[in-house]
Protein backbone atom coordinates (compact mmCIF):
# COMPACT_ATOMS: atom_id res chain seq x y z
CA UNK A 1 0.00 0.00 0.00
CA UNK A 2 2.98 2.31 -0.19
CA UNK A 3 2.76 5.12 -2.71
CA UNK A 4 6.44 4.82 -3.61
CA UNK A 5 8.93 1.95 -3.51
CA UNK A 6 11.48 2.50 -0.72
CA UNK A 7 10.49 6.11 -0.11
CA UNK A 8 12.79 8.44 1.78
CA UNK A 9 9.82 9.74 3.73
CA UNK A 10 7.21 7.30 4.96
CA UNK A 11 3.98 8.02 6.82
CA UNK A 12 2.53 5.00 8.65
CA UNK A 13 -1.04 5.21 9.89
CA UNK A 14 -1.75 2.51 12.46
CA UNK A 15 -5.09 1.14 13.62
CA UNK A 16 -8.09 -1.08 13.20
CA UNK A 17 -10.99 0.02 11.03
CA UNK A 18 -13.50 -1.95 13.07
CA UNK A 19 -12.79 -0.44 16.47
CA UNK A 20 -14.07 3.15 16.44
CA UNK A 21 -11.39 5.72 17.24
CA UNK A 22 -8.66 3.12 16.87
CA UNK A 23 -8.89 3.91 13.14
CA UNK A 24 -7.59 7.47 13.68
CA UNK A 25 -4.13 6.65 12.30
CA UNK A 26 -5.65 4.92 9.27
CA UNK A 27 -7.84 7.97 8.62
CA UNK A 28 -4.78 10.22 8.63
CA UNK A 29 -3.07 7.86 6.17
CA UNK A 30 -6.16 7.97 3.96
CA UNK A 31 -6.12 11.76 4.02
CA UNK A 32 -2.44 11.94 3.11
CA UNK A 33 -2.73 9.38 0.36
CA UNK A 34 -4.31 12.01 -1.85
CA UNK A 35 -2.48 15.08 -0.54
CA UNK A 36 1.09 13.96 0.17
CA UNK A 37 3.71 15.12 -2.31
CA UNK A 38 5.14 12.61 -4.80
CA UNK A 39 7.83 10.39 -3.36
CA UNK A 40 6.29 10.29 0.10
CA UNK A 41 5.16 6.78 0.99
CA UNK A 42 1.90 6.36 2.85
CA UNK A 43 1.09 3.08 4.53
CA UNK A 44 -1.84 1.71 6.50
CA UNK A 45 -0.68 -0.75 9.14
CA UNK A 46 -2.17 -2.95 11.86
CA UNK A 47 0.66 -2.11 14.27
CA UNK A 48 2.37 -5.50 14.55
CA UNK A 49 5.76 -4.40 15.93
CA UNK A 50 8.09 -6.71 14.00
CA UNK A 51 6.68 -5.81 10.63
CA UNK A 52 6.78 -2.10 11.57
CA UNK A 53 10.55 -2.46 11.95
CA UNK A 54 10.71 -3.98 8.50
CA UNK A 55 8.56 -1.25 6.98
CA UNK A 56 10.72 1.56 8.23
CA UNK A 57 14.05 -0.19 7.56
CA UNK A 58 14.32 1.40 4.13
CA UNK A 59 13.09 4.90 4.97
CA UNK A 60 15.14 7.87 6.14
CA UNK A 61 12.28 9.74 7.78
CA UNK A 62 9.22 8.08 9.29
CA UNK A 63 6.05 9.58 10.72
CA UNK A 64 3.84 7.27 12.78
CA UNK A 65 0.24 8.09 13.60
CA UNK A 66 -1.73 5.98 16.07
CA UNK A 67 -4.68 6.27 18.39
CA UNK A 68 -3.94 6.18 22.08
CA UNK A 69 -5.66 5.89 25.45
CA UNK A 70 -3.74 7.83 28.08
CA UNK A 71 -6.70 9.22 30.00
CA UNK A 72 -6.73 12.55 28.15
CA UNK A 73 -9.56 14.36 26.39
CA UNK A 74 -10.68 12.54 23.22
CA UNK A 75 -9.28 14.30 20.17
CA UNK A 76 -6.17 15.57 22.01
CA UNK A 77 -3.06 15.38 19.85
CA UNK A 78 0.37 14.45 21.18
CA UNK A 79 3.67 14.49 19.35
CA UNK A 80 6.95 12.80 20.14
CA UNK A 81 10.32 12.63 18.49
CA UNK A 82 12.18 9.35 19.02
CA UNK A 83 15.43 11.33 19.15
CA UNK A 84 14.30 12.80 22.49
CA UNK A 85 14.92 9.46 24.20
CA UNK A 86 12.94 6.40 25.26
CA UNK A 87 9.19 6.78 25.23
CA UNK A 88 7.72 7.17 28.68
CA UNK A 89 4.52 8.14 30.41
CA UNK A 90 1.48 8.40 28.22
CA UNK A 91 3.19 6.78 25.24
CA UNK A 92 3.81 3.48 26.99
CA UNK A 93 1.27 0.75 26.22
CA UNK A 94 -1.22 -0.15 28.93
CA UNK A 95 -2.21 -3.66 27.88
CA UNK A 96 -0.43 -6.97 28.30
CA UNK A 97 -1.34 -8.03 24.79
CA UNK A 98 2.14 -8.90 23.54
CA UNK A 99 4.04 -5.90 22.16
CA UNK A 100 2.83 -2.50 21.02
CA UNK A 101 4.00 0.37 18.85
CA UNK A 102 6.07 1.93 21.65
CA UNK A 103 7.82 -1.42 22.07
CA UNK A 104 8.54 -1.48 18.34
CA UNK A 105 10.25 1.90 18.64
CA UNK A 106 12.31 0.87 21.65
CA UNK A 107 13.18 -2.45 20.03
CA UNK A 108 14.26 -0.54 16.94
CA UNK A 109 16.39 1.73 19.13
CA UNK A 110 18.04 -1.23 20.88
CA UNK A 111 18.73 -2.98 17.59
CA UNK A 112 20.02 0.13 15.83
CA UNK A 113 17.08 -0.09 13.46
CA UNK A 114 15.43 3.29 13.91
CA UNK A 115 15.23 5.50 10.85
CA UNK A 116 17.31 8.69 10.83
CA UNK A 117 14.28 10.57 12.03
CA UNK A 118 11.14 9.12 13.61
CA UNK A 119 8.28 11.33 14.71
CA UNK A 120 5.04 10.06 16.15
CA UNK A 121 1.62 11.59 16.51
CA UNK A 122 -0.86 10.17 18.98
CA UNK A 123 -4.55 10.97 18.85
CA UNK A 124 -6.44 10.36 22.07
CA UNK A 125 -9.46 8.17 21.37
CA UNK A 126 -12.72 8.11 23.26
CA UNK A 127 -14.68 5.17 21.88
CA UNK A 128 -13.12 1.89 20.79
CA UNK A 129 -16.35 -0.08 20.46
CA UNK A 130 -16.56 -2.84 17.89
CA UNK A 131 -18.12 -1.57 14.68
CA UNK A 132 -18.12 2.09 15.78
CA UNK A 133 -16.93 4.90 13.50
CA UNK A 134 -14.64 7.79 14.43
CA UNK A 135 -16.10 10.07 17.09
CA UNK A 136 -16.49 13.76 16.09
CA UNK A 137 -13.61 15.01 18.25
CA UNK A 138 -11.25 12.41 16.77
CA UNK A 139 -12.44 13.17 13.25
CA UNK A 140 -11.40 16.79 13.80
CA UNK A 141 -8.08 15.70 15.25
CA UNK A 142 -7.43 13.58 12.16
CA UNK A 143 -7.62 16.70 9.99
CA UNK A 144 -5.37 18.62 12.37
CA UNK A 145 -2.72 15.88 12.37
CA UNK A 146 -2.88 15.46 8.59
CA UNK A 147 -2.27 19.18 8.10
CA UNK A 148 0.53 19.29 10.65
CA UNK A 149 2.18 16.35 8.96
CA UNK A 150 2.01 18.07 5.60
CA UNK A 151 3.67 21.10 7.16
CA UNK A 152 6.42 18.91 8.59
CA UNK A 153 6.96 17.01 5.37
CA UNK A 154 7.01 20.12 3.20
CA UNK A 155 8.73 22.80 5.28
CA UNK A 156 6.95 26.06 4.68
CA UNK A 157 4.23 24.24 2.79
Amino acid sequence: MTAAADPQVLVIGIGNTYRGDDAAGLAVAEWLRTSAPPGVGVLRHEGEPMSLLEEWDQAAVVYLVDAMTSGGEPGSVYRFDAADGPLTGRFRPRGSHALGVADAIELGRALGRLPGRLVGYGIEGGCFDTGATLSPAVREAVAVVAERLLEEIIPGG
Binding site: E54, S96, A110, L111
Partner: protein
Protein backbone atom coordinates in the same frame (compact mmCIF):
# COMPACT_ATOMS: atom_id res chain seq x y z
CA UNK B 1 3.24 -5.45 29.45
CA UNK B 2 2.34 -5.48 33.08
CA UNK B 3 4.61 -6.42 35.91
CA UNK B 4 3.81 -9.20 38.31
CA UNK B 5 2.02 -7.73 41.28
CA UNK B 6 2.16 -10.00 44.30
CA UNK B 7 -0.88 -9.70 46.52
CA UNK B 8 -0.97 -9.95 50.29
CA UNK B 9 -0.73 -13.53 51.51
CA UNK B 10 -4.07 -15.20 51.99
CA UNK B 11 -4.31 -18.31 54.13
CA UNK B 12 -0.64 -19.19 54.00
CA UNK B 13 1.07 -18.02 50.86
CA UNK B 14 -0.53 -16.93 47.65
CA UNK B 15 1.06 -16.25 44.33
CA UNK B 16 -1.06 -14.04 42.17
CA UNK B 17 -0.27 -12.58 38.81
CA UNK B 18 -3.16 -10.37 37.79
CA UNK B 19 -2.18 -10.21 34.16
CA UNK B 20 0.38 -12.54 32.68
CA UNK B 21 2.95 -10.81 30.51
CA UNK B 22 4.49 -12.35 27.38
CA UNK B 23 1.47 -14.46 26.57
CA UNK B 24 -0.97 -13.81 23.75
CA UNK B 25 -4.22 -12.56 25.27
CA UNK B 26 -5.52 -11.72 28.71
CA UNK B 27 -5.13 -14.14 31.58
CA UNK B 28 -3.78 -14.40 35.10
CA UNK B 29 -2.63 -17.03 37.50
CA UNK B 30 -3.33 -17.88 41.10
CA UNK B 31 -1.60 -20.41 43.33
CA UNK B 32 -2.66 -20.85 46.96
CA UNK B 33 -0.44 -22.63 49.44
CA UNK B 34 -1.55 -23.80 52.88
CA UNK B 35 0.77 -25.63 55.28
CA UNK B 36 3.26 -26.34 52.53
CA UNK B 37 0.62 -27.81 50.25
CA UNK B 38 -0.69 -26.25 47.07
CA UNK B 39 -4.43 -26.12 47.61
CA UNK B 40 -5.34 -24.23 44.45
CA UNK B 41 -3.55 -23.68 41.15
CA UNK B 42 -5.61 -21.79 38.64
CA UNK B 43 -4.91 -20.35 35.25
CA UNK B 44 -7.48 -17.57 35.20
CA UNK B 45 -8.58 -16.82 31.68
CA UNK B 46 -10.81 -13.79 31.75
CA UNK B 47 -10.55 -12.59 28.19
CA UNK B 48 -14.17 -12.44 27.00
CA UNK B 49 -15.40 -15.37 24.93
CA UNK B 50 -15.76 -14.54 21.26
CA UNK B 51 -18.48 -16.94 20.13
CA UNK B 52 -16.91 -17.92 16.82
CA UNK B 53 -18.76 -21.21 16.77
CA UNK B 54 -22.06 -19.36 16.96
CA UNK B 55 -21.32 -16.83 14.27
CA UNK B 56 -20.34 -19.60 11.84
CA UNK B 57 -23.84 -21.02 11.93
CA UNK B 58 -25.74 -20.12 8.78
CA UNK B 59 -22.59 -19.12 6.85
CA UNK B 60 -21.55 -20.79 3.60
CA UNK B 61 -19.23 -23.77 3.98
CA UNK B 62 -16.72 -21.99 1.74
CA UNK B 63 -16.47 -19.04 4.16
CA UNK B 64 -15.33 -21.08 7.16
CA UNK B 65 -11.53 -20.97 6.61
CA UNK B 66 -11.45 -17.18 6.32
CA UNK B 67 -13.74 -16.64 9.30
CA UNK B 68 -11.91 -19.03 11.61
CA UNK B 69 -8.51 -17.63 10.54
CA UNK B 70 -9.53 -14.51 12.43
CA UNK B 71 -9.45 -16.42 15.71
CA UNK B 72 -5.70 -15.89 15.77
CA UNK B 73 -3.22 -13.50 14.15
CA UNK B 74 -0.30 -15.76 15.03
CA UNK B 75 -1.61 -19.10 13.79
CA UNK B 76 -4.27 -18.28 11.14
CA UNK B 77 -2.95 -21.00 8.81
CA UNK B 78 -3.67 -23.64 11.45
CA UNK B 79 -7.30 -22.52 11.57
CA UNK B 80 -7.56 -22.40 7.80
CA UNK B 81 -6.07 -25.86 7.38
CA UNK B 82 -8.12 -27.60 10.08
CA UNK B 83 -11.24 -25.87 8.74
CA UNK B 84 -10.58 -26.78 5.09
CA UNK B 85 -9.98 -30.42 5.96
CA UNK B 86 -13.11 -30.66 8.11
CA UNK B 87 -15.28 -29.09 5.40
CA UNK B 88 -13.76 -31.30 2.70
CA UNK B 89 -14.34 -34.34 4.92
CA UNK B 90 -17.99 -33.38 5.36
CA UNK B 91 -18.34 -33.06 1.59
CA UNK B 92 -16.49 -36.31 0.86
CA UNK B 93 -13.64 -34.64 -1.04
CA UNK B 94 -9.97 -35.60 -0.84
CA UNK B 95 -7.54 -33.05 -2.29
CA UNK B 96 -4.70 -34.21 -4.55
CA UNK B 97 -1.14 -34.62 -3.24
CA UNK B 98 0.26 -31.40 -4.79
CA UNK B 99 -2.35 -29.34 -2.94
CA UNK B 100 -1.50 -31.11 0.30
CA UNK B 101 2.18 -30.39 -0.29
CA UNK B 102 1.50 -26.69 -0.80
CA UNK B 103 -0.60 -26.66 2.38
CA UNK B 104 2.28 -28.23 4.26
CA UNK B 105 4.63 -25.60 2.86
CA UNK B 106 2.60 -22.61 4.04
CA UNK B 107 2.14 -24.34 7.41
CA UNK B 108 5.95 -24.55 7.76
CA UNK B 109 6.02 -20.75 7.43
CA UNK B 110 3.62 -20.42 10.32
CA UNK B 111 5.63 -22.77 12.54
CA UNK B 112 8.80 -20.79 11.84
CA UNK B 113 7.30 -17.38 12.57
CA UNK B 114 5.31 -18.49 15.61
CA UNK B 115 8.10 -20.48 17.22
CA UNK B 116 10.69 -17.75 16.54
CA UNK B 117 8.44 -15.17 18.17
CA UNK B 118 7.93 -17.30 21.26
CA UNK B 119 11.53 -18.41 21.64
CA UNK B 120 13.17 -15.03 21.21
CA UNK B 121 10.67 -12.49 22.45
CA UNK B 122 8.50 -14.30 24.96
CA UNK B 123 10.34 -17.26 26.45
CA UNK B 124 14.12 -16.76 26.30
CA UNK B 125 13.96 -13.67 28.56
CA UNK B 126 12.70 -15.98 31.35
CA UNK B 127 15.84 -18.07 31.28
CA UNK B 128 18.24 -15.17 30.96
CA UNK B 129 16.68 -13.00 33.65
CA UNK B 130 15.22 -10.27 31.48
CA UNK B 131 11.85 -8.72 32.12
CA UNK B 132 11.05 -8.71 28.40
CA UNK B 133 12.43 -9.28 24.94
CA UNK B 134 12.95 -5.55 24.77
CA UNK B 135 15.24 -5.59 27.80
CA UNK B 136 17.11 -8.52 26.27
CA UNK B 137 17.49 -6.57 23.02
CA UNK B 138 19.25 -3.76 24.84
CA UNK B 139 21.99 -6.12 26.04
CA UNK B 140 22.05 -8.60 23.18
CA UNK B 141 20.79 -6.94 20.00
CA UNK B 142 22.58 -9.62 17.96
CA UNK B 143 20.34 -12.33 19.41
CA UNK B 144 17.14 -10.40 18.82
CA UNK B 145 18.24 -9.63 15.26
CA UNK B 146 18.67 -13.33 14.67
CA UNK B 147 15.23 -14.09 16.08
CA UNK B 148 13.58 -11.41 13.98
CA UNK B 149 15.41 -12.59 10.89
CA UNK B 150 14.17 -16.12 11.50
CA UNK B 151 10.62 -14.94 12.06
CA UNK B 152 10.82 -12.87 8.89
CA UNK B 153 11.72 -15.98 6.88
CA UNK B 154 8.49 -17.61 8.07
CA UNK B 155 6.54 -14.49 7.21
CA UNK B 156 8.10 -14.37 3.72
CA UNK B 157 7.05 -17.94 3.09
CA UNK B 158 3.48 -17.20 4.18
CA UNK B 159 3.49 -14.06 2.06
CA UNK B 160 4.53 -15.86 -1.11
CA UNK B 161 2.19 -18.84 -0.73
CA UNK B 162 -0.64 -17.18 1.14
CA UNK B 163 -0.72 -13.70 -0.37
CA UNK B 164 0.05 -12.06 2.95
CA UNK B 165 1.74 -13.11 6.15
CA UNK B 166 -1.13 -12.51 8.58
CA UNK B 167 -4.52 -14.02 7.77
CA UNK B 168 -3.44 -15.29 4.33
CA UNK B 169 -5.95 -14.68 1.54
CA UNK B 170 -4.92 -17.40 -0.92
CA UNK B 171 -6.31 -20.38 0.99
CA UNK B 172 -9.73 -21.77 0.07
CA UNK B 173 -11.78 -24.88 0.64
CA UNK B 174 -10.45 -27.39 -1.90
CA UNK B 175 -6.97 -25.85 -2.19
CA UNK B 176 -5.66 -22.43 -3.17
CA UNK B 177 -7.06 -19.62 -5.30
CA UNK B 178 -3.78 -19.46 -7.14
CA UNK B 179 -0.75 -21.74 -7.16
CA UNK B 180 2.56 -19.88 -7.01
CA UNK B 181 4.86 -20.53 -9.97
CA UNK B 182 8.18 -22.26 -9.37
CA UNK B 183 10.03 -19.03 -10.08
CA UNK B 184 8.11 -17.37 -7.25
CA UNK B 185 9.27 -19.97 -4.75
CA UNK B 186 12.90 -20.03 -5.88
CA UNK B 187 13.84 -16.74 -4.16
CA UNK B 188 12.73 -18.33 -0.88
CA UNK B 189 15.54 -20.87 -1.01
CA UNK B 190 18.38 -18.59 0.11
CA UNK B 191 16.06 -17.08 2.71
CA UNK B 192 15.23 -20.51 4.12
CA UNK B 193 18.82 -21.72 3.92
CA UNK B 194 19.84 -18.79 6.04
CA UNK B 195 16.90 -19.44 8.36
CA UNK B 196 18.01 -23.07 8.70
CA UNK B 197 21.43 -21.92 9.86
CA UNK B 198 19.81 -19.48 12.27
CA UNK B 199 17.48 -22.19 13.57
CA UNK B 200 20.42 -24.50 14.18
CA UNK B 201 22.21 -21.71 16.04
CA UNK B 202 19.00 -21.25 18.03
CA UNK B 203 18.92 -24.92 19.01
CA UNK B 204 22.50 -24.67 20.28
CA UNK B 205 21.81 -21.40 22.08
CA UNK B 206 18.71 -22.49 24.01
CA UNK B 207 20.29 -25.86 24.87
CA UNK B 208 22.65 -23.95 27.16
CA UNK B 209 19.91 -22.27 29.20
CA UNK B 210 19.60 -23.08 32.90
CA UNK B 211 16.58 -25.36 33.30
CA UNK B 212 14.77 -25.97 36.58
CA UNK B 213 14.92 -29.58 37.68
CA UNK B 214 11.32 -30.57 37.05
CA UNK B 215 9.84 -33.47 35.22
CA UNK B 216 6.36 -34.96 34.96
CA UNK B 217 4.87 -38.18 33.72
CA UNK B 218 2.76 -36.60 30.99
CA UNK B 219 0.09 -38.12 28.87
CA UNK B 220 1.06 -36.76 25.47
CA UNK B 221 -1.45 -36.37 22.64
CA UNK B 222 -0.62 -35.44 19.06
CA UNK B 223 -1.30 -36.32 15.49
CA UNK B 224 0.77 -38.98 13.78
CA UNK B 225 1.44 -39.05 10.05
CA UNK B 226 2.68 -42.37 8.62
CA UNK B 227 5.73 -40.98 6.85
CA UNK B 228 6.40 -37.50 8.20
CA UNK B 229 6.58 -35.41 11.34
CA UNK B 230 2.95 -34.42 12.00
CA UNK B 231 1.76 -31.07 10.69
CA UNK B 232 -1.17 -31.44 8.36
CA UNK B 233 -3.17 -34.39 9.65
CA UNK B 234 -2.95 -38.08 10.46
CA UNK B 235 -4.33 -40.12 13.32
CA UNK B 236 -4.70 -38.93 16.90
CA UNK B 237 -2.32 -40.87 19.13
CA UNK B 238 -1.26 -40.69 22.77
CA UNK B 239 1.55 -41.97 24.95
CA UNK B 240 -1.16 -44.06 26.66
CA UNK B 241 -1.87 -46.10 23.54
CA UNK B 242 -4.73 -44.13 22.02
CA UNK B 243 -4.70 -44.45 18.23
CA UNK B 244 -7.85 -43.18 16.53
CA UNK B 245 -8.90 -41.43 13.35
CA UNK B 246 -9.71 -37.74 13.77
CA UNK B 247 -13.43 -38.46 13.33
CA UNK B 248 -13.42 -40.36 16.64
CA UNK B 249 -11.87 -37.46 18.58
CA UNK B 250 -15.24 -36.48 20.07
CA UNK B 251 -15.73 -39.98 21.49
CA UNK B 252 -12.63 -39.64 23.66
CA UNK B 253 -12.16 -35.95 24.37
CA UNK B 254 -14.72 -33.91 26.27
CA UNK B 255 -14.88 -30.25 27.17
CA UNK B 256 -15.98 -28.96 30.56
CA UNK B 257 -16.60 -25.51 31.96
CA UNK B 258 -14.81 -24.23 35.06
CA UNK B 259 -15.71 -21.04 36.92
CA UNK B 260 -12.28 -19.40 36.65
CA UNK B 261 -11.84 -19.63 32.89
CA UNK B 262 -13.75 -18.31 29.90
CA UNK B 263 -12.12 -21.13 27.91
CA UNK B 264 -13.38 -24.70 28.18
CA UNK B 265 -11.09 -27.29 29.74
CA UNK B 266 -10.50 -30.55 27.89
CA UNK B 267 -10.27 -34.06 29.28
CA UNK B 268 -9.40 -37.42 27.76
CA UNK B 269 -11.64 -40.41 28.43
CA UNK B 270 -13.62 -38.69 31.13
CA UNK B 271 -11.09 -37.38 33.60
CA UNK B 272 -7.55 -37.62 32.27
CA UNK B 273 -5.36 -34.52 31.96
CA UNK B 274 -3.18 -34.51 28.86
CA UNK B 275 -0.70 -32.33 27.00
CA UNK B 276 -0.65 -31.20 23.38
CA UNK B 277 2.04 -29.11 21.66
CA UNK B 278 5.70 -29.35 20.72
CA UNK B 279 6.72 -31.63 23.61
CA UNK B 280 3.88 -34.04 22.85
CA UNK B 281 4.58 -33.97 19.11
CA UNK B 282 8.26 -34.54 19.66
CA UNK B 283 7.87 -37.25 22.26
CA UNK B 284 5.43 -39.19 20.08
CA UNK B 285 7.07 -38.57 16.72
CA UNK B 286 10.81 -37.98 17.22
CA UNK B 287 11.46 -40.99 14.97
CA UNK B 288 9.83 -39.13 12.07
CA UNK B 289 12.42 -36.36 12.04
CA UNK B 290 15.15 -36.41 9.41
CA UNK B 291 18.60 -37.45 10.63
CA UNK B 292 20.04 -33.93 10.46
CA UNK B 293 17.35 -32.62 12.80
CA UNK B 294 17.63 -35.61 15.12
CA UNK B 295 21.38 -35.01 15.34
CA UNK B 296 20.78 -31.40 16.36
CA UNK B 297 18.22 -32.51 18.96
CA UNK B 298 20.61 -35.09 20.41
CA UNK B 299 23.46 -32.58 20.52
CA UNK B 300 21.12 -30.23 22.40
CA UNK B 301 20.53 -32.89 25.02
CA UNK B 302 17.10 -34.08 23.96
CA UNK B 303 16.39 -37.78 24.19
CA UNK B 304 13.62 -39.68 22.45
CA UNK B 305 11.10 -37.89 24.65
CA UNK B 306 11.05 -34.67 26.66
CA UNK B 307 9.32 -34.54 30.06
CA UNK B 308 10.70 -31.30 31.50
CA UNK B 309 8.32 -28.59 30.26
CA UNK B 310 10.96 -25.89 30.71
CA UNK B 311 12.95 -27.64 28.00
CA UNK B 312 10.07 -27.17 25.56
CA UNK B 313 12.02 -24.18 24.28
CA UNK B 314 14.60 -26.63 22.91
CA UNK B 315 11.85 -28.66 21.26
CA UNK B 316 10.45 -25.49 19.65
CA UNK B 317 13.89 -24.66 18.32
CA UNK B 318 14.26 -28.20 16.94
CA UNK B 319 10.84 -27.93 15.29
CA UNK B 320 11.84 -24.59 13.79
CA UNK B 321 14.88 -26.26 12.29
CA UNK B 322 12.66 -29.03 10.97
CA UNK B 323 10.19 -26.55 9.45
CA UNK B 324 13.05 -24.82 7.59
CA UNK B 325 14.34 -28.14 6.24
CA UNK B 326 10.87 -29.36 5.35
CA UNK B 327 10.05 -26.11 3.54
CA UNK B 328 13.27 -26.40 1.53
CA UNK B 329 12.42 -30.00 0.63
CA UNK B 330 8.88 -29.06 -0.41
CA UNK B 331 10.17 -26.20 -2.58
CA UNK B 332 12.73 -28.52 -4.15
CA UNK B 333 10.00 -31.01 -5.08
CA UNK B 334 7.33 -28.43 -5.86
CA UNK B 335 4.92 -29.11 -8.66
CA UNK B 336 2.31 -26.35 -8.95
CA UNK B 337 -1.09 -27.96 -8.36
CA UNK B 338 -3.10 -27.74 -11.57
CA UNK B 339 -5.84 -26.77 -11.08
CA UNK B 340 -4.93 -25.06 -7.80
CA UNK B 341 -8.17 -26.18 -6.17
CA UNK B 342 -10.77 -28.88 -6.53
CA UNK B 343 -14.47 -28.25 -6.37
CA UNK B 344 -16.06 -29.07 -3.01
CA UNK B 345 -19.79 -29.29 -3.67
CA UNK B 346 -21.78 -29.27 -0.44
CA UNK B 347 -23.74 -32.22 0.85
CA UNK B 348 -25.54 -32.97 4.06
CA UNK B 349 -23.01 -34.31 6.55
CA UNK B 350 -20.51 -33.86 9.35
CA UNK B 351 -16.78 -33.42 8.78
CA UNK B 352 -13.73 -33.58 11.02
CA UNK B 353 -10.32 -31.96 10.67
CA UNK B 354 -7.24 -31.74 12.87
CA UNK B 355 -3.80 -30.31 12.25
CA UNK B 356 -0.81 -29.48 14.41
CA UNK B 357 -0.88 -25.75 15.15
CA UNK B 358 2.39 -24.39 16.56
CA UNK B 359 0.89 -24.81 20.05
CA UNK B 360 -0.56 -28.25 19.43
CA UNK B 361 -3.49 -30.19 18.06
CA UNK B 362 -6.29 -28.01 16.67
CA UNK B 363 -9.56 -29.83 16.07
CA UNK B 364 -12.53 -28.64 13.99
CA UNK B 365 -15.89 -30.32 13.43
CA UNK B 366 -18.67 -28.97 11.21
CA UNK B 367 -22.15 -30.14 10.30
CA UNK B 368 -23.20 -28.86 6.92
CA UNK B 369 -26.63 -28.81 5.34
CA UNK B 370 -27.21 -29.98 1.78
CA UNK B 371 -27.29 -26.36 0.58
CA UNK B 372 -23.85 -25.67 2.06
CA UNK B 373 -24.83 -23.71 5.15
CA UNK B 374 -23.06 -24.48 8.40
CA UNK B 375 -25.49 -26.03 10.89
CA UNK B 376 -23.07 -26.67 13.77
CA UNK B 377 -19.43 -25.97 14.56
CA UNK B 378 -16.95 -27.09 17.20
CA UNK B 379 -13.39 -25.77 17.44
CA UNK B 380 -11.00 -27.05 20.10
CA UNK B 381 -7.71 -25.12 20.16
CA UNK B 382 -4.50 -26.32 21.79
CA UNK B 383 -4.34 -23.75 24.59
CA UNK B 384 -7.80 -24.74 25.82
CA UNK B 385 -6.65 -28.37 25.89
CA UNK B 386 -3.51 -27.49 27.82
CA UNK B 387 -5.16 -25.54 30.65
CA UNK B 388 -5.41 -28.58 32.90
CA UNK B 389 -1.83 -29.65 32.43
CA UNK B 390 -0.61 -26.09 33.07
CA UNK B 391 -2.47 -26.10 36.39
CA UNK B 392 -1.18 -29.57 37.18
CA UNK B 393 2.41 -28.40 36.50
CA UNK B 394 1.94 -25.50 38.91
CA UNK B 395 0.58 -27.79 41.63
CA UNK B 396 3.60 -30.05 41.37
CA UNK B 397 6.19 -27.35 40.72
CA UNK B 398 5.55 -25.06 43.66
CA UNK B 399 5.91 -27.28 46.79
CA UNK B 400 9.63 -27.94 46.30
CA UNK B 401 10.26 -24.21 45.83
CA UNK B 402 8.45 -22.65 48.76
CA UNK B 403 11.73 -21.49 50.26
CA UNK B 404 12.34 -19.18 47.30
CA UNK B 405 11.72 -15.46 47.76
CA UNK B 406 8.16 -14.59 46.77
CA UNK B 407 9.15 -12.59 43.68
CA UNK B 408 11.40 -15.38 42.44
CA UNK B 409 8.71 -18.00 42.94
CA UNK B 410 6.16 -15.82 41.17
CA UNK B 411 8.54 -15.38 38.26
CA UNK B 412 9.13 -19.14 38.02
CA UNK B 413 5.39 -19.83 38.11
CA UNK B 414 4.85 -17.40 35.25
CA UNK B 415 7.66 -19.09 33.41
CA UNK B 416 5.93 -22.45 33.97
CA UNK B 417 2.86 -21.06 32.23
CA UNK B 418 4.89 -19.62 29.36
CA UNK B 419 6.37 -23.08 28.76
CA UNK B 420 3.13 -23.73 26.91
CA UNK B 421 3.19 -20.57 24.77
CA UNK B 422 -0.47 -20.12 25.69
CA UNK B 423 -2.59 -18.32 23.16
CA UNK B 424 -5.48 -17.10 25.24
CA UNK B 425 -7.24 -15.31 22.40
CA UNK B 426 -7.48 -18.65 20.59
CA UNK B 427 -8.77 -20.46 23.62
CA UNK B 428 -11.65 -18.11 24.37
CA UNK B 429 -13.50 -18.31 21.10
CA UNK B 430 -15.83 -20.96 22.50
CA UNK B 431 -19.56 -21.21 22.69
CA UNK B 432 -21.27 -23.02 25.49
CA UNK B 433 -23.63 -21.00 27.57
CA UNK B 434 -25.38 -22.90 30.32
CA UNK B 435 -28.58 -21.43 31.62
CA UNK B 436 -29.72 -22.88 34.92
CA UNK B 437 -33.39 -22.50 35.71
CA UNK B 438 -35.07 -23.49 38.92
Amino acid sequence: MKDASPAAPVSGESIRVGALARVEGEGGLEVLVTDGQVTEARLNIYEPPRFFEALLIGRRHTEVPDITARICGICPVAYQMSACQAIEDACGVTVPAPIRALRRLIYCGEWIESHALHIYLLHAPDFLGYQSGLHMAQDRPDLLQRGLQLKKAGNRLMDVVGGRSVHPVNVRVGGFYRAPARRELDPLRPVLERARAEALATVRWVAGFPFPDFSEDYLFVSLHEPDAYPILGGRVISSGGLDIPVRQYGQHFTEVQVPHSTALHSLLDGDVTYMVGPMARYSLNAGQLPASVTDAARAAGLGATCTNPFRSIIVRAVETLYACEEALRLIEQYEPPDPPWVEVPPRDGTGYGATEAPRGLLYHRYRISADGTVAAAAIIPPTAQNQRVIESDLRDFVPARLDLPHDQLTWECEQAVRNYDPCISCSTHFLTVKVKRS
